[in-house]
């Protein structure tokens, strides 16, 4: 099995589409890192400037003494409002600052990769590398060397997962390099936290993200093997992704459905407006997220069982 997985992974890492999509993701990741650091830094600076200016704003020569007195009376209230905005911007700044941290950049990138655009790329890779084998006919020589289709598909799913993990590492390294060499100087941001905290958050985030990527790879490969045609697989994957995202906000149930559990597992928040707004905020639940992931795992298991049974009733190629 190890050799099979290695062979599939090697093949996927050489796949022109896999390379192109990986390059696109790395560029997209750098662009998002740049935008989010720039925006967060600008917002924090601006809100601080507004706060600093607040008492002086009442000193306008056009203000009558009564207007000035009324203005000064409102300053504390306005300051409270601005401080709330400042807190939110600071929280966003802390998250954006992870992209300027050598370890935190891994957490920042895994959230991008497990968000909608990252999952779209993963579905595309699975569609063309799995379903494409059938549409090209190249599955024939492979099946003449491995008779167990389930084993072959499991290896392909592991290879797609490995591809996504390699992409995560490469992209995180590029993001960290950008953040350290340019971002820190150009866009001052609050500290992402003590090293221990960043390490712990990153470890948990990467574990959760890796689990989500594994699940997504299993579903995408199963779809590819079921439909055996890249475009159909891609469209079905997109439809499923929209369904997962939309149902994450279903009242009373969303947190238990794949989209809600996934969002809570990875800890989606304000990573960046460009990537994160695809994911609708989930219906809050007090149940542990590891428990809420079980229905998703059961659905993936059922999909693979169904695929296995269906494959027994039809020609393998």
């Amino acid at each position: 099995m190890n050799r099979l997985v290695r062979a599939e992974t090697r093949r996927l890492l050489r796949h022109p589409l896999g390379l192109t999509l990986a390059a696109l993701f790395v560029l997209g990741s750098l662009y998002c890192a740049w935008v989010s650091q720039s925006m967060a830094s600008y917002n924090i600076t601006q809100v601080q400037a507004n706060l600093d200016f607040l008492p002086e704003s009442c000193d306008s020569p056009r203000n009558t003494p009564e207007q000035k007195a009324g203005c000064l009376a409102e300053v504390p209230l306005q300051a409270v409002g601005l401080e709330r905005i400042q807190d939110r911007f600071t929280a966003e700044g802390v998250r954006a600052a992870q992209a300027q941290h050598p370890v935190g950049s891994l957490l920042w990138t895994v959230r991008l990769l497990t968000s909608v655009p990252g999952l779209v790329l993963l579905v595309m890779v699975a569609a063309f590398s799995v379903a494409g084998e059938w549409s090209r006919g190249s599955i024939v020589p492979i099946l003449l060397y491995e008779s167990r289709l389930g084993r072959l598909l499991a290896a392909k799913a592991l290879a797609v997962w490995a591809w996504s993990l390699v992409l995560l590492c490469v992209s995180a390294a590029a993001t960290a390099a950008f953040g350290l060499l340019y971002g820190r100087g150009a866009y001052p941001l609050p500290s992402p936290g003590a090293l221990g905290t960043v390490l712990a958050d990153t470890a948990l985030g990467v574990l959760a993200g890796a689990a989500v990527l594994a699940g997504a790879a299993a579903v995408a490969v199963a779809l590819g093997a079921l439909l055996r045609q890249p475009m159909r697989t891609f469209l079905a994957g997109m439809l499923l992704l929209v369904l997962v995202v939309r149902t994450s906000a279903a009242p009373g149930l969303g947190a238990w459905l794949p989209g809600g559990a996934l969002a809570d597992l990875v800890g989606f928040g304000a990573v960046d407006g460009v990537w994160d707004h695809f994911w609708i905020s989930t219906d809050p639940s007090t149940a542990p997220v590891l428990l809420r992931v079980l229905p998703t795992l059961a659905l993936i298991g059922l999909l693979w069982l169904g695929l296995d049974r269906f494959n027994r009733t039809r020609d393998r190629a």
């Binding site: 050799r3 099979l4 290695r6 062979a7 090697r10 093949r11 050489r14 796949h15 022109p16 090209r136 006919g137 190249s138 024939v140 020589p141 492979i142 099946l143 003449l144 060397y145 491995e146 008779s147 167990r148 072959l152 039809r314 020609d315 393998r316 190629a317």
Partner: protein, 265 residues
Amino acid sequence: MIGREHHTHACSHELGANACPPKMSVLSCHEVTKGFRKHSVLEGVHLSLEAGEIVGLLGLNGAGKTTLMRVITGLSTPDSGEVRLFGEALPMRPRQLDRLGAALDAPAFHRWSTGRAMLRTLLDTAGLPDGGRIARTLERVGLTGAADRRLGTYSQGMRQRLAIASALLKQPDLLILDEPTNGLDPEGLRMVRRIVAEEAARGAAVLVSSHQLDEIQRICHRVIMLAQGRVVAAGTLDALGYDPESGPAAFEDWFFGLVGNGARP
């Protein structure tokens, strides 16, 4: 004769016939039937192959040759009937597949891969070690010089050679070649003839389909003729009433006499 094989294996072919290998059933098909939707492609096909023999599968387009080979290699599941490989009934098990080599359909590989990398991928897929066999196989099919070129740059003939290499890589006990001479130049035709003879001499059973009637006539111990999904004749050319001295044109007439001129209804 109709629908049944005539087992008169004579070991009288011109290549690799120095010694008749011991008879051992490598492949047997019993009442194999296969259809696609309501269209029947194979109907009650019987055949068997023994170690060391070369059997030619003949028939017009749509006769069911490729489908039969796909059923034998486990790519297609028969609707009814039984296929036994190396004494065990299908579905295919890894120990059966390890002894089977096949080149089917139009050869399709990963265009971005090289010939050598493609063969290594296949070996890795089966978990088999290389041990120099990739280099040896590439040499046998005349692709050593092009081994590190991307497959997207291969000609049809080169892809065909690579398909044959992929079938030989496992040193199989049963070699199945579906129209292996398609797209090959005269040197390639000679190579196929040599490889088939060598494999049979090594003790492998070879099932080969081709529209090159003279090739079949030259290399095969026996022929099986399919028409409209049925075996219409099987046996040595001698037993089927063909005179080897009568030339290619006579062979063609003899072939059409057995399978008929009509296409599948």
